[in-house]
């Protein structure tokens, strides 16, 4: 794929992380009227269950941004066809596993998985 497409995704996911991260921070700090209420177990759980889809989106953005970014850093430090394809596959596997594990966690707090 052309670099501009991949980098566009990198920038957009970066912006998405900023937006959803701020929302995440705001909800977990102030939901339910004030910080002390927001950090109660019940209100944290209600935020999680209400905004489950957004959490999944946040996870998608984070996984792409971190692992594609990490791949680029590694490929700027060292070059070579074999090295670069090893790094790509390593990032796909570790990134994929991270995404699946995160999704599993989200499904558990949404009550879909037990």
């Amino acid at each position: 794929m052309r670099q501009s497409r991949l980098m566009l995704l990198q920038y957009l996911t970066g912006l998405g992380i900023l937006a959803l991260g701020s929302l995440h921070f705001a909800l977990l700090s102030f939901a339910g009227g004030g910080y002390s209420n927001a950090i109660q177990f019940a209100s944290v759980l209600s935020v999680y269950t209400t905004f489950g889809v957004l959490f999944e989106l946040f996870l998608v953005f984070l996984t792409w941004h971190i692992f594609y970014g990490f791949r680029r850093v590694l490929c700027e430090l060292h070059q070579g066809r074999r090295y670069e394809s090893t790094v790509t596959w390593a990032m796909v596997i570790i990134g994929g596993a991270t995404f699946l594990w995160g999704t599993r966690t989200i499904l558990i707090f949404l009550g879909v998985l037990h």
Binding site: Q3, S4, M7, C75, E76, L77, Q79
Partner: protein, 297 residues
């Protein structure tokens, strides 16, 4: 000529320090103005056979060089070669900032030796070869990868409507405004200072580098060129425009005021627009021949 040896190790290579005194010379006699002396610490490198351990391959030699107003770093190096050590190797040709062959690293910054006044560098000057290119000898480096990267971006006018090869002897129409779109980038000497200063080139040997990318933009911005889509294809790959982190050191060191960092950001914008919006531009037409040509071809 007093020689002193202080051997030490640096990065696994043995480095030696040698001191060479000065010979008061014709350099000052010819200029006839106020004279002083500077200490020139010059990087030396010999490409010895692998099994030859008789001498270290890299070292620094220090020379006392008399200077006067107007002495350039290149004058000082030539003085060393003529009077103190004829084995010192460096490149130069025009001595007037045109050929781009005398690039060195002086006191940590890339400079054209012939365009640099010694007085601006202080009394202790360290001269090293350019970075990011492999050493040949002393201050000379191998420009082959640099030239190959320049060739990759098609550094010539691409026209699909007229055959510009061989005996082509016509002109394309271009307004002064159109000329100004690329003129700054056409001033590039291919001296390699930007390539040496670039931190991405330091770690990524496949990175096209600021010079080649600025050259790509120079042709893309030229109204006579019709090859912008091909070139964007080339710069929109890995180890090309998107590897630039906008450190800006290329533009900072360029002796001709070219701004490769700006050109690279323009290339990124064009590559993003190419996702759908950029259309192949129509290159400018040929200038019509005068009706009654004095010297018809």
């Amino acid at each position: 000529m007093g020689n002193e040896d202080h051997s030490h190790f640096s990065g696994g290579l043995t480095l030696t320090e040698n001191d060479h005194g000065s010979e008061q010379s014709a350099l000052s006699e010819s200029t006839g103005n106020e004279q002083s002396t500077v200490k020139l610490r010059v990087f030396r490198y010999k490409n010895l056979p692998k099994d030859d351990t008789s001498a270290p391959s890299t070292s620094f030699d220090t020379f006392q060089v008399p200077i006067s107003n107007g002495t350039t770093l290149l004058d000082a190096l030539i003085y060393v070669k003529e009077k103190l050590d004829p084995t010192l190797t460096f490149r130069y040709s025009c001595r007037m900032g045109i050929c781009g062959s005398c690039g060195v690293n002086a006191n940590g910054k890339e400079k054209l030796a012939c365009k640099t006044q010694v007085k601006d560098l202080g009394e202790n000057i360290e001269v090293r070869p350019l970075n990011n290119l492999s050493l040949i000898r002393d201050l000379t480096v191998d420009f082959k990868p640099f030239i190959e990267k320049n060739v990759k971006v098609k550094p010539y006018l691409v026209r699909n409507d007229v055959d510009v090869d061989g005996g082509f002897n016509r002109e394309f129409r271009q307004t002064p405004d159109e000329l100004n779109q690329y003129l700054m980038f056409a001033n590039c000497l291919m001296c390699g200072l930007c390539y040496s200063a670039c931190p991405t080139n330091a770690t990524d040997e496949l990175y096209l580098g600021p010079q080649a990318l600025a050259r790509a933009y120079r042709y893309i911005a030229d109204s006579r060129d019709g090859g912008q889509l091909e070139r964007i294809e080339i710069v929109d790959q890995e180890h090309a425009a998107w590897s630039c982190h906008f450190a800006g050191s290329c533009s900072d060191v360029c002796p001709k005021g070219v701004d490769p960092a700006f050109a690279i950001q323009q290339l990124k914008a064009l590559a993003l627009r190419k996702q759908g919006l950029l259309k192949r531009k129509k290159p400018s037409p040929l200038v019509e021949r005068p009706r009654e040509s004095v010297n018809p071809v």
